[in-house]
Amino acid sequence: MFDLFVDLVFQLVQMILVIAIAPLLTGLVRKVKARLLRRRGAPIWQPYLDLHRLSRKEAIVADSATWLFRVAPYLIFASTWVAAALVPTFATGLLFSWAADLIAIVALLGAGRFFLALAGMDVGTSFGGLGASREAMFATLAEPAMITIVFSLALIAGSTQLSTVAAFMASSAVGLRVTLGMSLIALLIVAVAENGRVPVDNPATHLELTMVHEAMILEYSGRHLALFELAAMLKLVLYVSLIACVFAPWGLAIENASIVARLIGGLFYLVKLAVAGVALGVFETSIAKMRVFRVPDFLGAALMLGFLGAMLLFVSRSLK
């Protein structure tokens, strides 16, 4: 009973942690980018202030909007939050991790995207449709790429449960594998695309020809916009956690670890987030945004890499 209680507490800690830390990571990326451009940049906690400011403003809803327009922010935020709560951050074996395996987490993000694209089309403006249509095109390549990566991880670890995969990766039995290298590159490409970062999309732009995510949420304001912003930040944390727990599982507290081990895991996690934030900032500054119709090639490369990696595993092992 006590164990269950401890597990519940840690699950709740994780749920609150990912929300609390998400704006900080985005603030860090922005700060790094600003410093690299020799600007001073806004303080690292600026996203918190932005969210606070947005949430206190009145929400403006277009005349032609349906009820879906007002429900969508909550659904998208909730599905992203639930997905983020199921990815191990500082410890594996979270209480509810068995409710959804990695395939279900990917699909849960897909559900969020489904509503996001519908929300973009709801008001009936050309920009909303533009964003939704481009997002749908990206997703048709990014999602299968992600699934092929899941195949590779699942075959290596013998499970699609993310906790089990992470625990297996943290053990010494893994070693260097070609498939893992391919999967990592593919996952990085998918993560860049899914989070709408340069070179696929630019979160800082409102230029008609290039925007994707911003175009879909163009009609949103006030608390609704705050929810979308926070959901986007959460998604970034989710992908960083995912990459960290599979490809850099150092310090991760394995199931039933002591509280000290979990605290150490938490420290390691913060370091990993910081490294990822700086790396993303450097990457984004050093690369140019690509044309929308070059993106399929970029994502197609991820799909091919993921597929080849999975194919290698299917052929080379007789399963354990």
């Binding site: 349906t66 068995w98 403006t125 050309s126 749908a136 699942a154 929308v292």
Partner: protein, 670 residues
């Protein structure tokens, strides 16, 4: 009375109803009477099938002295036929309920009512048949009744063409099935299913029978490249019949395939699964890409049926491969996934066709380019359609996701195959399923977003009204079932156990033992999923967020004109249309799937003519397979036309020549 007797009674009553409907032709209450009676009869059938299925009874046999003399008609009810009868009668119940409202808008009901009842009877008889003759009779009456329904609005030239293509393909399919049964019956002509089951044909005969079954059942189900009739015929029928054809008749075809390949042929060979898997994947991709390009709402749905049939066949192919390689557990997983997907598809595709029919009733339009903003005018239809679109996009926590998740879990057992071909095919299938699912999600964002969201694109959409209560009840019921099937997948998997046991010889582990209503197809440490908990989490998280926000943050809301980056947009024509939505996807996939060519003609500065965008897309399968066949058949027919104008002497010599030839063949045979 036994369940078998009850189900046969229902079919007989439906046939009588068909005659009564003819007698009632022209009466004002005919529609209400026929659909009401069909509803009651289907409900009885559903209860009888479910009763048999859930109480796990032993197979029931019955021989009636009808049909061919000396032989009689054999009927048999086992778990496999009971499951598919449940699907048939469930779909029929929903369609009849829906038609109580929708059928009132039918301009000439006497063209629909008699065939509707006969169609239901045909579909109810196919799974009961236990000999080839009865099977083919039921199969053909199902085909012909549905053909008559497709032709009910025959003055529209498009419908006439659809009916022509459909009857050609249906006859071709029945012919292939006839030959398949002929091969399985052997030289003695033992054409009861029991006799076929008892004798195992030689490898060559079995492979040929498999190919014929793939053609015969596949053409009815919509397997590429035999799918071309489906997107023409399904939308041409009235919407409740479209729902039956897409949601139910394709499942009867899948039943026929399972019955022949998993039951009658005998021991499986792993090589058979290769064409099934490749055709399944090709069907899925072709179906969904076509669905993404169509602008007619009902044709989008018909092509999406093709796609889902492809997924079911991938599941069946995996099940066959695992079964042939002696991996019963994995075969049971793949078979469960395929059957569950077939059932799920019946639920959401019927729902979506009902919704499309409701849109048609309210606006008179099927072209998405004239619709828009319907969610404001038809809130309930819009909500149910949203649930259907979400479910068919294979997103958690609804039912479409569960079956695709199970297929992916089966794919992940692919490394167990001893054969290299299958080892290489398994990940390809996995990638294909993922690609199809992602494209389907895009397709249904488009199919929902364009008609139901945005602003009305035409006057019909601006004045749309919510539809009647019967239609809404039918749609609401199916939407609820979609949700329940997604939230309690363990119950469904356990219920399917006898069918899976019958077809592949093993069953999945009992899911009711897994705690918290989760499902764990192989072992909990390997993979598990809990739709109920996922939904609960999302609801709690969303409620909590909205509570906190409304407590802490601003609650103010203002209605205003759309912002749209400051561009005023009075015309609703500036919205994204169905074509523009799929343009990026067309640019990625269209080049090699449709040989799509775009040419843009922009006038030079100073010229006052409009700019033009010309888009040419070709259906490559039609152009490279059907058009040449049509051409050659036409040429041969022109040549043979001369035979109609011979003199009596010439005719007599032709007859004499034929007789000599036949005698020679007989002599050579002896």
């Amino acid at each position: 009375m036994t369940s078998l007797g009850c189900l046969l009674g229902v079919d007989a009553a439906l046939l009588v109803l068909s005659l009564v409907a003819m007698a009632l032709s022209g009466r004002r209450y005919a529609s209400a009477f026929v659909y009401g009676a069909a509803l009651a009869l289907s409900l009885v059938g559903l209860v009888a099938a479910a009763w048999y299925f859930l109480t796990r009874q032993t197979p029931q046999d019955l021989v009636l002295p009808i049909g061919l003399p000396w032989i009689g008609a054999h009927f048999r009810l086992d778990a496999l036929s009971a499951f598919f009868l449940g699907v048939v009668h469930l779909g029929a119940t929903a369609a009849s309920l829906y038609a109580l409202g929708y059928g009132r808008h039918e301009p000439d009901p006497e063209r629909v009512l008699p065939f509707y009842a006969a169609f239901l009877a045909g579909m109810g008889l196919v799974p009961l048949a236990d000999d080839a003759y009865t099977f083919l009779l039921a199969w053909e009456s199902m085909s012909l009744a549905s053909w008559a329904l497709v032709m009910s609005h025959h003055r529209d030239p498009e419908n006439a063409r659809a009916g022509f293509v459909y009857i050609l393909m249906a006859s071709f399919g029945t012919f292939a099935l006839l030959l398949a049964f002929g091969l399985l019956a052997g030289a003695d002509g033992a054409y009861t299913f029991a006799a076929m089951r008892a004798t195992a044909p030689s490898t060559g005969i079995a492979a040929l029978a498999l190919a014929l079954a793939l053609i015969g059942a596949g053409s009815k189900a919509g397997l590429a490249p035999l799918h071309v009739w489906l997107p023409l015929a399904h939308p041409a029928a009235p919407s409740h019949v479209s729902a039956l054809m897409s949601g139910v008749m394709t499942k009867v075809a899948i039943y026929a395939f399972i019955r022949i390949v998993f039951d009658l042929i005998g021991p499986a060979d792993w090589r058979w699964s290769v064409p099934i898997l490749i055709l399944g994947a090709a069907t899925g991709l072709i179906g969904v890409l076509h669905a993404l390009m169509e602008v007619d709402l009902k044709r989008v749905l018909a092509y999406s049926t093709v796609e889902n049939i492809g997924l079911v066949f991938i599941g069946l192919g995996l099940a066959l491969a695992f079964k042939a390689d002696g991996m019963g557990g994995a075969a049971a997983l793949a078979m469960t996934a395929a059957l569950l997907h077939a059932l799920n598809h019946t639920l959401f595709k019927s729902l979506l066709f009902f919704g499309a029919g409701a849109v048609l009733t309210a606006t008179g339009a099927r072209d998405m380019g004239r619709l828009g903003g319907l969610l404001n005018k038809m809130p309930l239809t819009g909500l149910f359609m949203l649930i259907g679109c979400f479910a068919i996009s294979a997103l958690p926590p609804l039912n479409g996701f569960v079956s695709e998740w199970l297929i992916l879990q089966a794919v992940l057992l692919g490394p167990l195959f001893p054969q290299w071909t299958l080892k290489l095919l398994a990940p390809t299938m996995g990638a294909a399923i993922a690609l199809v699912a992602a494209l389907a999600a895009a397709c249904f964002v488009r199919a929902y977003g364009v008609p139901f969201l945005g602003r009305p694109r035409g006057p019909e959409a601006a004045e749309a009204k919510e539809v009647d209560r019967f239609s809404l009840t039918a749609m609401g019921g199916l939407a609820t079932l979609c949700a329940l099937a997604g939230l309690f997948p363990g119950v469904m998997i356990d219920a399917l156990k006898p069918v899976v046991q019958l077809t592949v010889g093993m069953a999945m582990p009992l899911q009711s033992k897994v705690p918290w209503l989760s499902i764990a197809p192989i072992a909990e440490a390997r993979s598990s999923y809990n739709g109920l908990l996922v939904l609960l989490f999302i609801v709690i998280a969303a409620t909590l967020t909205s509570f906190i926000i409304h407590r802490v943050a601003s609650n103010a809301l203002r209605r205003a004109p759309a912002w749209d980056c400051g561009f005023p947009e009075p015309s609703s024509a500036t919205q994204y249309t169905a074509e523009s939505f799929s343009q990026p996807i067309r640019r990625v996939f269209g080049g090699f799937v449709f040989a799509a060519r775009e040419s843009v003609d922009i006038p030079r500065p100073g010229q006052l003519r409009p700019a033009h965008l010309r888009l040419v897309m070709r259906d490559l399968i039609w152009d490279s397979l059907y058009a040449p066949i049509g051409l050659y058949v036409g040429m041969i027919a022109t040549r043979l036309n001369g035979l109609q104008f011979l003199t009596i002497r010439q005719y007599l010599s032709v007859v004499f020549g034929a007789l000599v030839l036949l005698l020679l063949v007989l002599a050579a045979g002896a």
